[in-house]
Amino acid sequence: MRGWIALLGLWSGLALAEEERAGVDPAEDPDPEVGDAGPDRSGPPDVLPSPLLDLDEPEIHALGPGIEAWYVPVDGVRRVNVYAVVHRGMHDLAGWPTVPAQAMGQAMDVATTRYPADALSTRADLFEVELYSWLGHHSGGVSLSVPAESLGEGVELLGEVLRAPVFPRKDLKRHLRDERVRLTLTGPSSPRAVAHAVTTYAWFPPDHPYGARPDLSALQRISRKEVVDLHAQWLRSGPITLVVTGPVPWEGLSPHLEAVVDGLGAPGEPSESLPVAPPTDSRVLAVDLAGQEQVTLTLRLPAPVQEDDDRVAFELLRYALGGHFLSRLNANLREDKGYTYGARATYHPGRTSGHLTVQVDVAAENLAATVGEIEHEIARLVTEGVTAEELEWAVRARAFAWNETRRTADSTRAFYGQRLLAGERLAQAREREATARALGPEAVAEVAGRWLAADAPRQWVIAGDRGQLSEQLGALGWETQWLDPLAGYQGAFR
């Protein structure tokens, strides 16, 4: 397979009524190249740009004190999506991620008072209902996807899972067992999983809730009562929002949804992200995976947070650096050097913590050279900025993703769900797209200079065979903190 590359970014777009068309109407577009003369291959044909389509703000419906629905109709699709979000998470319940809280998030969708586990699973399959539950640091909920013709059955199951999960003891114990296996066996034996875990734990100190390390001793037993009580507390602890998308009119949905949330929630503000101090010093952590011929390499740097004025420019920088097949990193490390199957960069503009992460796998012998090339490409962004062409590519990719928002009910739900969790309205997202279109190379270069300079703190994580890597790391002049895979994967380091 050629590569992993997919557009990294939001998939958003505008749903069209069946009789409308977006962008160019191909039947009306005169094409001087189509004719009897045969194709003109002297250069690429012109591309007619698509306008950025209007997305509507969701209809907001009050369903009770502290409860509202964001409804976005999507015609001509098969499924209805309901994303039920309680704006309270682990941090609000327990101060820190705890085993009972994590178990609660995982096991809500196993069984309910009306449907034992087997019956719930069977019923879901019979009506093509997809349900999953989760609990994060600051929010949690249940997501439903169901064909429109089975709306009643699907929403019934949503209500059951949200309101009346029973948390069977056997499944709670299985959750603990699976976590122990993951933390002690399967996770540490995966180079990429270990590198990812170390990258995350190194970014957040152990005394910060976002960096909370797993407590293996707490994974030995679990109190079902504690999980049940947590759930009851959570369900009425804060505001609730339902993001609802699909082909069913609101009038057909509201009676079902009102029953789902009746008596739940509480007025208030959504849980807030915690302050995070970005690292100020560079560091290098390495995980010794004896015998590995490959090395997994990640580099993380601080980056603008969600509301930072530099955010949009940084998104464009990220795309140029490692966001597509011909991005600088991939063009260099794969197409030019043949070092890797794929190099990429991702950017997370969190509310209180932002970071850029570069990730690549290479043969161990190419570690130092790869580090050099990554730094070279980052330095080029600082000294040379991006080209107008690179900016245009980034803007076009964003426009295409935007225009694809309403491809399905699920893609629509994902887009508006992200707005919800980011605490922003559609107008802000639109404004970001306008900003992206207006930014020029000089402005973007300034942002590169502010965030990617040589003295910006860097967190390198390397997972590979120490015997093959030590010399190269020494030649780089790096002081390296070595970890074994277990310690790395479990965050047992500072």
């Binding site: 977006a22 039947a27 045969g38 690429p44 044909p45 093509e128 057909g252």
Partner: protein, 454 residues
């Protein structure tokens, strides 16, 4: 895997009417002068267009000494052609806001793109140029570079836990002279040794207009899109039919050494139990697909319950029926850090034996049908998936609109059919196993011999 689920009646008075035939794939079809078949279906939900172009060439068409060439060649299709310089393929498409990728299997190589409708001419220009004029763009530097990339792709994949399992299964279960014996990624020796001329020869033999089917789904006017396709492919020469390929799906014998092992950097042992079954399109394929779902379709299904939900025997289990054009296989898989593989195997054997003794219930079969059918119907919402499905329908059945009939075959499967195929194909004497075990710690099935991956 082409499936059908029963359509459910509308249950909510407020819901939309059920579509007349949601399984219909009815593009306009045109066979161009050079033999390329083009399928076009308009869908105007968004402005995008999906293009899917399949060449009927895969790893099974490789000759000794060129193992991995089909996949390497897939890489080289992006490196430039007569009128598209190196990197321009991706560059121009990315500049238009589009994206693209490809994949290679034993049976075919598929290229796909998604792009705004205003880039239709560009997409057709790019595809036609590399179909007709790739050899002018083949350069030694690009071939050399992509050799490195492919070898690195292999190395990265093999470095992941379990990353060698699929290739090891092919080598274990198919005899050396079977087209499916060698991995799609090829061998290190062959890939490292590819020269430009050999690649060019491969292109001439297989990459011909008569050997390809192209589909466009999205914001297009069919008549206009067909005219544009005809225009852009007009100068792509008809190089005649491709090199003949094996099309006869002969029964595959169980190898004398039917238990294999690989040692890996893992902390769990994994057992793959494998049986040769039937190829894609065989009359028994639907029953086998449904059998796999009955065994491992989540909670409340037989194998998953026995191994995971109702015991601690395994940390995970799965069953799937994989049908390729020349052969198919049923695979049952389970992993555990503690449970001996022999115990996992006994549970698998016991569940297969249950199906042999007694058919599944109607409820089990109905649930399996709905699960598989729903998956297909969800895929049909996506332009790229629709394009792929209609190309596969056309290649295998001569019509792009095959889903209705295909899914009717699943609808027709009875519990007794499932019992019959269990008895016919999944006997103990036909079972092969691959044990994936931690290095130096043993625990493989008795008699298992290491599988080499050159």
């Amino acid at each position: 895997m082409l499936l059908l689920a029963l359509l459910l009646p509308a249950l909510a008075a407020d819901g939309p009417p059920v579509p007349a035939d949601p399984l219909a794939l009815q593009p306009q079809v045109r066979v161009l002068d050079n033999g390329l078949t083009v399928l076009v279906e308009p869908r105007t939900r968004t402005d995008s267009v999906a293009l899917h172009l399949a060449y009927q060439v895969g790893a099974r068409d490789e000759r000794p000494g060129e193992l991995g060439c089909a996949h390497l060649f897939e890489h080289l299709m992006f490196e430039g052609s007569a009128n598209v310089r190196t990197n321009a393929f991706d560059g121009w498409l990315t500049a238009a806001g589009g994206s693209n990728n490809a994949w290679t299997s034993e049976d075919l190589t598929a290229y796909h793109m998604t792009f705004p409708s205003g880039a239709l001419d560009l997409a057709l220009f790019l595809e036609s140029d590399r179909m007709g004029f790739l050899d002018a763009g083949l350069e030694d530097d690009n071939v050399a570079n992509q050799r490195l990339v492919v070898l690195q792709e292999r190395a990265e994949g093999y470095a992941q836990p379990g990353g060698r399992s699929w290739d090891a299964l092919s080598r274990l279960t198919f005899p050396p002279d079977h087209p499916y014996h060698h991995p799609v990624i090829g061998t290190v020796e062959d890939v490292a040794g590819f020269q430009t001329e050999a690649v060019r020869d491969f292109w001439h033999r297989h990459y011909r207009s008569q050997n390809a089917v192209l589909a466009l789904v999205g914001n297009v006017d069919p008549a206009d899109a067909l005219e544009r396709a005809a225009h852009w492919f007009a100068d792509v020469p008809d190089a005649g039919p491709p090199e003949p390929r094996v099309t006869e799906a002969a029964p595959v014998e169980v190898p004398a050494q039917r238990d294999g092992l690989i040692e890996d950097d893992v902390e769990e042992r994994t057992l793959y139990a494998v049986w040769h079954t039937v190829p894609l399109g065989h009359e028994d394929a639907p029953a086998l697909d449904l059998l796999a779902q009955i065994l491992s379709g989540g909670r409340g299904t037989r194998l998953d319950d026995r191994l995971y939900f109702r015991s601690n025997l395994a940390t995970g289990s799965s069953a799937f029926h994989y049908g390729a054009e020349l052969a198919g296989q049923m695979l049952l898989v389970a992993s555990s850090p503690k449970t001996p593989l022999t115990r996992l195997a006994r549970v698998m054997d016991a569940e297969v034996a249950r199906l042999m003794r007694r058919p599944p219930t109607e409820a089990e079969l109905d649930r399996a049908r709905r699960a598989l059918g729903g998956w297909v119907r969800d895929r049909l919402e996506d332009n790229a998936s629709r394009a792929e499905l209609m190309v596969d329908c056309y290649r295998l059945h001569g019509t792009p609109d095959c889903l209705g009939e295909e899914m009717a075959r699943y609808d027709a499967v009875t519990p007794e059919d499932v019992q019959r195929v269990a008895n016919q194909y999944l006997g103990a004497e036909r079972r092969m196993t691959l044990s994936v075990v931690p290095r130096g710690r043993g625990g493989a099935m008795p008699g298992a011999v290491e599988v080499e991956l050159p």
